[in-house]
Amino acid sequence: MMEIGLNHYLVLSTILFAIGLIGVMRRKNLLLLFFATEILLNSVNIAFAAISHYYGDLTGQLFVFFVIAIAASEVAVGLGLLIVWHKRHGNIDLDHMSTMRG
């Protein structure tokens, strides 16, 4: 119990991932949806870092590095699109975005 192993980190990572998924599915506000995706990315980062530590392999940490880079660019582009949408429609509610209706 007191010895923290890899499994502890993985369980934590999974809990956070589940929280992120809940957020992704229940949020209707686009901005708050972005928050949820950030949680998903971070939960995976923890898992990577933990595996890297417990196996003595640097690859995991490098992956975290690239994931952070991707997250940053995603935020930049995502926010840009969000602003455009808000300018045109005056809201960022997901329920109003249904032009892809099949």
Binding site: M1, T14, I19, R26, L32, Y55, D57, Q61, H86
Partner: protein
């Protein structure tokens, strides 16, 4: 002992913060909770000996990303409650938990079989940052450069999207409107 206390403390705090982020109806609360959660996550990196990543986590997420979100939120009325109408709550929670369990199972599988070999073992006697740098600039040089280009593209895209006057959408307009818009444009060029 100390490590265990730290882990459990930060695990509790992170979970709590992220839970608040996804459940609160106040956008401002969500933003604050997310920022706090990010910082708590960096604590794990420090515990795991990934100092560089911990630093980056704080700088990039809590610094840059959160600042961006904060700017983004200036467009909206943050004091207003965020309306969330949801169909079935059980579906949401159920799906999330099932997928989480499956992810754990998959992650755990190689541990069970014990067939992981370290590709880039840690170098003894070097700091974490130095180690990371050595791998990053040899084996992962090309992905690193690509990531740099990607960030540049994202920056330009962000600037263009946010700055440009884009009140026209060709996909949402009818044909007649498009033709009118074109005529107006050519008129401007002629003048």
């Amino acid at each position: 002992m100390f490590e265990a206390i730290a882990f459990y403390l930060f695990a509790f705090l992170t979970t709590l913060m992220f839970f608040i982020t996804v459940t609160t109806s106040q956008a401002l609360h969500a933003l604050t909770a997310l920022a706090a959660g990010m910082i708590f996550i960096s604590a794990f990196f420090f515990i795991l000996g990934a100092d560089f990543l911990g630093a980056i986590q704080i700088v990039v997420y809590s610094g840059a990303v959160m600042a961006l979100y904060a700017f983004g939120m200036m467009f909206f009325d943050t004091t207003r409650e965020v309306k969330e109408k949801n169909g079935n709550k059980y579906i949401v929670f159920g799906l999330s938990i099932i997928s989480a369990v499956l992810v754990v199972v998959i992650f755990a599988a190689p541990i069970v079989t014990n067939n992981i070999k370290a590709l880039y073992p840690m170098v003894k006697g070097a700091g974490n940052t130095q180690e990371l740098g050595m791998v990053l600039f040899t084996k992962y040089l090309v992905p690193f450069e690509v990531a740099a280009v990607m960030l540049l593209v994202a920056m330009i895209a962000g600037i263009v999207l946010a700055g440009k006057k884009m009140d026209l959408s060709l996909t949402l307009m009818s044909d007649a409107e498009i033709i009118d818009a074109k005529k107006e444009k050519t008129k401007k060029v002629l003048q």
